[in-house]
């Protein structure tokens, strides 16, 4: 009973942790503009402060029923409406909410406004209205048409962007890349591929070396357990025998045991890779030659 309860508890904890892992933690506040005088307009041709959210995950994220708020005391201030297909953010993509205090204009219009010249705080809460997913404190000094943005999408420091060299990027990446930096860096710093070769071969060797060492250990433990079992079967105590005294059964002995089992009980070894009397039937397949390669005694090559 205790064992069953223990197992149930483990399953419940595992399920709960899975559910937590699948939450909307990947949602990020990414860029905010408080006073919009010349930046983007909404569907009605009007300018308002805006809040950009970013899905930092590599999978689509549904954000309906999360809460946007500018008041820590009211975490459930603006619930993102259900039933709008546009609330599903594609992987690594953005969505902009206009903070215009006019939620009747549509899904992406909040019921609060950001106040110029004052400190503003914006938070995103999960559907429970308790779990704070992300928050940002926007200083009162943020000028009109300046945005407060993360230096890199979904991560990094918050910095002020004035629209000059530090461009403002509603609904698009905060860092615009025209090349793959990793590849550029490899092309520039490792033009002959020597660095990649050294690194990669070290990793491949390490991975297989760790596996190799692990299975040396497991093999040793297995051998010692099997030796102990055998001693127990022979009724011999550990201190009575020196190491190596319990020898492996010879092939002939194993064959005799299997023959006896087969003849009298019509049974055979479950480990069909070791020894069996029953004919092993194999269905034909393109890959079956691999099995044959492992199991069949190879024929002598007569080509000399």
């Amino acid at each position: 009973m205790k064992r069953k309860l223990f197992l149930t508890a483990i399953i419940v904890v595992a399920a709960a942790s899975t559910a937590f892992a699948q939450g909307r933690k990947s949602l990020r506040l990414n860029e905010v503009m408080v006073q919009n005088e010349s930046s983007i307009v909404d569907d009605y041709g009007e300018r308002h402060g805006w809040i950009e959210l970013f899905n930092s995950n590599f999978a689509p994220l549904e954000i309906s029923s999360v809460y946007l708020t500018n008041d820590p005391q009211q975490p459930k201030k603006y619930p993102v409406p259900l039933g709008d297909v546009n609330t599903r953010i594609a992987k690594r993509q953005h969505v902009v909410f206009f903070a215009d205090g006019q939620p009747d204009k549509g899904t992406f219009h909040t019921n609060f406004v950001l106040e110029p010249g004052k400190d503003n705080w914006v938070g995103v809460y999960d559907a429970d209205g308790i779990t704070l997913i992300d928050e940002v404190f926007i200083p009162a000094s943020l000028a009109a048409d300046n945005s407060y943005a993360r230096s890199v999408d979904g991560a990094g420091e918050w910095v002020v962007r004035d629209g000059g060299v530090a461009y403002i990027t509603p609904s698009s990446a905060n860092v615009i890349r025209d090349t793959n930096n990793k590849i550029e860096e490899f092309a520039e710093r490792d033009a002959n591929g020597f660095g990649m070769t050294v690194m990669a071969m070290c990793i491949v060797f390490c991975a297989l070396l760790v596996l190799c060492l692990c299975f040396y250990g497991i093999g040793k433990i297995g051998a010692s357990v099997s030796r102990l079992n055998k001693m127990r079967a022979h009724g011999v105590e550990k201190h009575e025998v020196a190491k190596g005294d319990i020898a492996h059964d010879s092939g002939e002995e194993i064959a005799a045991i299997v023959m006896a089992l087969h003849d009298h009980l019509d049974a055979h070894d479950t480990e069909n890779t070791i020894l069996t009397i029953n004919k092993v039937k194999r269905a034909y397949s393109p890959w079956s030659s691999k099995i044959y390669g492992l199991r069949e005694v190879p024929g002598v090559n007569h080509r000399r």
């Binding site: 297989l208 190799c212 297995g222 890779t273």
Partner: protein
């Protein structure tokens, strides 16, 4: 318009849709390549299970048609049947399914019994990175070089998986090159093995492998997956499925699943993979100077991989005790090409000593090569994607 004109106009439109009206010289070249592959498979028995689907796929992919007619039949036309089937290649989900089957049909006992053979599988991956350096020297970009170099892993699904991520435009040539050289392993490897070994080394007899318990066989895929994927998470699709398949096989309680994975599922995916990879080699995409370079680099990769496996064993023997020496003829098996390269080790060993069976010993590095090439693919993906 008279009835005769009407018929003539429609017949003319029909003619414009036919392959004869749209054929270019490149189509005929590729059709000849497809026929050559089918001939190799049927007459020469070179990897027939792969070369027949690929060869026929090349025929399918190179039947000329009017691409402007909106027939939605081409493999690159979104929504066409071939395009839907091709998704398994372009999105990279056929290779992991093949790996599931490989895992379900592979016996890792030889490797578990003698874990040091894993290092040979690691050494042979030098072929990948040697080819990577040559590809960079020729002028390929690092991501393209990585995708091409994986041919040296001698593992078709891995090559397709990586090229679909790093260089999708080169995938057809890479896949065809990888499978072609895998079919040519019996031609490429023996001269190298003879070149790098002495007669005395070829006669080395290895100790028979110990028996492996079922517990060890069950632990292997679990520990193997966790260890390798913790080191290279980007190899998870391939390594995860490989070890999962092996667990189905070894755990003893999922025989039905293991049988399906190793037979029906693998057969289905092999057919679809081979056919769509073949069909993706349309003349306009395939007949380019890059393809010649890719075939050259694939050849280099195979030579480097086979040689480095053999040379590594010779080096390894310097530090091994006298009674545990490894026959360097099994070094070539470090490239995947399961089980062809292990058979070559065995056959060559028997040529020099008719009672020296190396097959089981060679299967160790052979299956380690599968793991090693998947790890190498994960490394390249991690660095370059």
């Amino acid at each position: 318009m008279s009835f005769g004109d009407f018929l003539l106009k429609n017949l003319q439109q029909f003619w414009e849709l036919t392959g004869f009206a749209n054929a270019e010289i490149g189509n005929f070249v590729m059709l000849a390549v497809g026929l050559f592959f089918i001939w190799l498979a049927i007459k020469k028995n070179f990897e027939p299970m792969l070369l027949v689907p690929i060869g026929f796929g090349i025929l399918i992919g190179n039947v000329p048609f009017n691409t402007g007619a909106g027939l939605e039949i081409g493999i690159y036309e979104e929504g066409s049947v071939l395009n839907i089937l091709y998704n398994g290649v372009s999105a990279g989900w056929y290779p992991p399914l093949i790996f599931l089957g490989i895992g379900a049909m592979t016996d890792f006992s030889a490797l578990i019994a003698n874990p040091k053979l894993m290092l040979i599988g690691a050494a042979a991956q030098f072929g990948i990175f040697g080819a990577y350096m040559v590809a960079l020297a020729i002028g390929f970009a690092p991501d393209q070089a990585g995708a091409i170099a994986i041919i040296g892993g001698a593992d078709g699904p891995t090559a397709i998986f990586l090229s679909s991520k790093l260089a999708p435009n080169l995938m057809g040539a890479i896949a065809v090159s990888a499978y072609s050289y895998m079919a040519l392993v019996p031609v490429i490897q023996p001269p190298l093995m003879r070149l790098f070994t002495t007669k005395k080394e070829r006669l080395i007899r290895m100790k028979p492998a110990r028996a492996v318990s079922q517990n060890e066989k069950i632990i292997f895929p679990i520990v193997g997956m966790l260890l390798t994927c913790f080191v290279v998470p980007s190899g998870l699709p391939l390594l995860g499925m490989l070890f999962f398949g092996n667990l189905l096989r070894e755990c003893g309680v999922t025989n039905r699943l293991a049988k399906t994975a190793s037979n029906a599922l693998t057969d289905i995916v092999t057919i679809l993979l081979g056919m769509t990879v073949g069909a993706s080699t349309q003349a306009s995409q395939f007949l380019t100077p890059q393809t010649i370079f890719i075939f050259f680099l694939g050849f280099m990769a195979f030579i480097i991989a086979s040689s480095s496996g053999v040379l590594f064993v010779k080096l390894f023997n310097l530090i091994l005790p006298k009674d545990q020496k490894i026959n360097p003829l099994i070094g070539n098996a470090g490239v995947s090409a399961v089980p062809m390269s292990a058979r070559i080790s065995n056959n060559l060993g028997l040529e020099y000593d008719p009672s020296n069976y190396l097959l089981m010993h060679a299967m160790g590095p052979n299956v380690a090569g599968v793991i090693g090439s998947a790890v190498a693919a994960g490394v390249l993906l991690g660095f370059l994607a």
